[in-house]
């Protein structure tokens, strides 16, 4: 009996079955305190369409789907094995194809190829509003995808480049949004110099404000170890939330404010107003995303970026080479904070209102998911990951399928984090450096500044 359970194939099937059960319950109906089993029983008993072909009970649908997935993966595995064997055997046709593939891969690394790819992507992004003319979709793309991308790019500097887990990132976003409200005179607090400033004025003010807060929070806390930093930033995010939610005289309290003007400028004869129509905001935010992309990717390979990587990989060694860790960590923190503050301005001016529920800690987790999913430290990965995850979320928000409930978003995001950490800790599209780093740490050939003792727990067992 014992050997039966130790059989890897049995274990694998058991795991698959458990995951299947979990997915069935996760996508099932809601329960309640008075009917605690309603969620579970409904998950199995209810009927559900199987691609519109027939209408069996839910568990049958999921079982069939699992069989399809398992079948497909084993097919792919078999094909892969066949492919490798053929290649090894020197089969001409296969070898030729493999060679071409390798050459394509090589070319993809080439600068000109990459640039043309970027150009195509940019052209597509510019053409996008003409492709998707539905305004509710466009609004979603601005609010749920592009703004999140801005935030993810900023968090990537902190968590990806410098390796600092900042769970209170949302606080800087809130600071940006509330600064906008303050500068434009939409808060109970009178605006600076009693003037209702143009929203564009809010951009530098919010950036400076968020940056200042980042520096002020960073200088004392960035000396701490990585896990303490995570908790302290978490607490900071919670404090900012409590503040904006409770100080009615300053921030409008739990109702927030809804008086923020759209972005607009009139310099003499040139006038423009970004209004309710999402398209102008789309282009504006897209421009900001591109600017962020360019700025951060040049930062990545600059002296500062290399210092971050050095600190992330081995703080002691970096310090011995003359890199001042605290200085660079605070810098990363400030840059992250500034980008979050900036995103706050964009959101506040586009949605016209700011309310505390937007700025709960969960929001930081959402941004963290984007960074982790794409690949910490890889700008390309973060953009792609952000597009995939937030695009999917936007789709779910726009036209939710019957098995999805918007309140469950964070359940799925949390599960995604765990799954990523178990199977792809470096993210789906990691930078080469990061991937090497993770594999080195796992092989025990590189020191991990964040971890000193875990290495002692490597258990020699054949898994």
């Amino acid at each position: 009996m014992k050997t039966f359970f130790q059989n890897p194939r049995v274990q694998r099937s058991g795991r698959t079955a458990l995951i299947l059960l979990l997915i069935i319950v996760m996508t099932g109906p809601e329960g309640s305190g008075t009917q605690p089993t309603a969620g579970f029983t409904g998950s199995f008993g209810n009927h559900m369409s199987f691609f519109g072909l027939f209408y069996p009970q839910r568990w049958v649908v999921f079982l069939l789907l699992t069989l399809i997935v398992v079948g497909l993966t084993s097919l792919v595995k078999m094909a892969h094995r066949w492919w490798i064997e053929r290649q090894r055997a020197g089969n001409n046709a296969v070898a030729r194809v493999a060679k071409t593939l390798a050459a394509t891969k090589q070319r993809a690394r080439h600068r000109s190829t990459r640039l043309s790819l970027y150009a195509v992507a940019l052209a597509f992004a510019l053409y996008f509003p003409h492709l998707v003319t539905d305004q509710s979709w466009q609004t979603l793309v601005v609010q749920d995808v592009l703004v999140y991308l801005l935030l993810a790019l900023g968090l990537n500097v902190v968590t990806g480049f410098a390796g600092l887990l900042d769970l209170g990132y949302v606080a800087f976003y809130a600071i940006g949004a509330y600064t906008t409200a303050w500068v434009t005179g939409s808060l109970p607090t009178p605006p600076p110099f009693g003037v209702h400033w143009n929203t564009f004025v809010a951009i530098p003010v919010a950036i400076v404000f968020a940056m200042l807060c980042g520096v002020l929070l960073g200088i004392p806390t960035l000396r701490l170890r990585g896990d303490y930093l995570a908790i302290v930033t978490l607490g900071f995010g919670e404090i900012v939330y409590l503040f904006i939610n409770n100080s009615y005289g300053i921030t409008g309290g739990s109702t927030g404010t809804n008086q923020i003007p759209f972005l607009s400028f009139h310099l003499g004869p040139i006038k423009y107003l970004w209004g309710l129509i999402p398209e102008p905001y789309y282009y504006l935010t897209l421009a900001f995303v591109v600017i962020f992309l360019l700025a951060f990717s040049s930062l990545e390979h600059s002296r500062v970026g290399r210092s971050w990587v050095a600190i992330r990989e081995d703080e002691v060694a970096a310090e011995s080479l003359g890199i001042h860790p605290l200085k660079y960590k605070v810098m990363a923190f400030a840059i992250g904070a500034a980008s979050a503050g900036f995103a706050g301005v964009v959101t506040a001016s586009q949605t016209l209102f700011v309310t505390p529920p937007t700025f709960t800690i969960s929001f930081s987790i959402n941004i963290l998911v984007l960074v982790i999913f794409g690949g910490m430290g890889s700008i390309f990965g973060v953009v792609l990951g952000g597009l995939v995850v937030q695009g999917f979320v936007a789709y779910l928000t726009h036209s939710p399928p019957s098995i999805y409930n918007a309140a469950d978003l964070y359940m799925y995001l949390g599960a995604l984090l765990v799954v990523m950490m178990i199977y792809r800790p470096a993210g789906l599209f990691p930078s080469r450096r990061r991937r090497r780093e993770v594999s080195q740490v796992e092989a025990g050939t590189a020191p991990d500044t964040l971890q000193v003792e875990i290495g002692a727990h490597r258990v020699q067992e054949d898994v």
């Binding site: 319950v25 996760m26 809601e30 329960g31 309640s32 305190g33 008075t34 605690p36 969620g39 390796g163 887990l165 769970l167 004392p220 806390t221 701490l224 990585g226 896990d227 303490y228 995570a230 908790i231 302290v232 978490l234 607490g235 919670e238 404090i239 409590l242 409770n246 800690i361 969960s362 987790i365 963290l368 409930n405 309140a407 469950d408 964070y410 359940m411 995001l413 949390g414 984090l417 765990v418 990523m420 950490m421 178990i422 800790p425 993770v438 740490v441 796992e442 092989a443 025990g444 991990d448 964040l450 971890q451 000193v452 003792e453 875990i454 002692a456 727990h457 258990v459 067992e461 898994v463």
Partner: protein, 316 residues
């Protein structure tokens, strides 16, 4: 000047009442802090998902008490039996959830010797998954617990009334903490835990089963966490997001006492509970949660090893 003098007057007026409430809260924080500190002791990492252990314990007891008590008014004997049953079920479910966490969110990473950041992220993910899952299955509203006793005033001390609730917390808390202390100090399992905390590799060479010890450490911490969740939820009810704030405070307590140090966690919990309770006189209600966090930052800046120091594994 007048600001403080008036606040001190309030404090003087209500000191004993606040103290009693603070100690009661302190026991709850101490029991949760034990979970953080034990896991930190053996793995050197913060179990971010411990707040969900706390929450699930409360839910388990809620359902049991709803089944046992319902609308009836239990007599004295039934009260005690129901209370013990609720404590046990809260603890057992907490321990099971902690075990599950270890198996799913930690062990695969441990096998791979993953970087520490990965553990933190995986635990955060597990925490978000768990509490939203519970919210989905059991509703997202506050469920008020059917207390198995009536909350009478048992006696007064310096004008402060001590209710049944405080007595319950005191008895359960002291029993749990003493039992755990003895368990870790004297039993074979406790010796294993201390050995792993000191030096895992050597411990494994000496025949300590590391996987088992780590799992049991999670379970012990989870048991106390689950019970604490039940005690916490008696007056305020159980809700899916209830774990976040108390857990953050308990973590502060663990750091305050010296993380990795069992008695430090108890001391830190009690101090934090009392300080927080007394600060009611100075801080308005909405910002009361900030106090614990301020304590945490202060400790980390001034004395990161805590009051009793990080006595990892040396003794209970």
């Amino acid at each position: 000047m007048s600001y403080f003098s008036s606040h001190f007057a309030t404090l003087g007026h209500e000191f004993w009442g606040l103290l009693v409430g603070g100690i009661a809260n302190g026991f709850i924080y101490a029991m949760v802090a034990i979970g953080y500190t034990m896991v930190y002791g053996v793995l050197r990492l913060i179990n971010f998902a411990h707040s969900e252990v706390f929450m699930t314990g409360a839910f388990a007891s809620f359902f049991l008490l709803k089944f046992l008590v319902g609308n009836s008014t239990p007599n004295a004997f039934e009260s005690v039996v129901y209370l013990i049953a609720a404590v046990v079920i809260g603890g057992v479910v907490g321990a099971l959830v902690a075990l599950l966490l270890e198996r799913v969110a930690y062990r695969p990473l441990r096998r791979r010797n993953a970087p520490k950041l990965a553990y933190l992220i995986s635990a955060i993910g597990a925490s978000y998954f768990l509490y939203n899952f519970v919210g989905k299955e059991f509703g997202r509203i506050n469920l008020s617990i059917d207390a198995p006793y009536t909350n009478n005033t048992v006696f007064t001390i310096f004008g402060a009334t001590v209710q049944t609730y405080y007595i319950v917390i005191f008895f359960v808390g002291v029993t749990m903490l003493v039992a755990l202390d003895r368990l870790v100090a004297t039993s074979k399992l406790g010796r294993g835990i201390r050995a792993v905390a000191q030096d895992a590799e050597t411990a494994s060479l000496m025949g300590v089963n590391i996987d088992r010890t780590i799992a049991l450490t999670f379970m012990l911490g989870g048991f106390l966490g689950g019970v604490a969740g039940f005690l916490y939820s008696i007056p305020v009810g159980a809700v899916y997001g209830m774990g976040f704030t108390p857990a953050l405070k308990a973590f502060s307590a663990a750091v305050l006492g010296g993380i990795g140090n069992l008695r430090g966690a108890v001391l830190g919990g009690l101090i934090l509970g009392v300080v927080e309770s007394l600060s009611v006189a100075f801080v308005s209600g909405a910002y009361i949660d900030v106090v614990a966090f301020g304590v945490l930052v202060l400790v980390l800046l001034v004395r990161p090893t805590g009051i009793l120091g990080e006595r990892l594994g040396r003794s209970a």
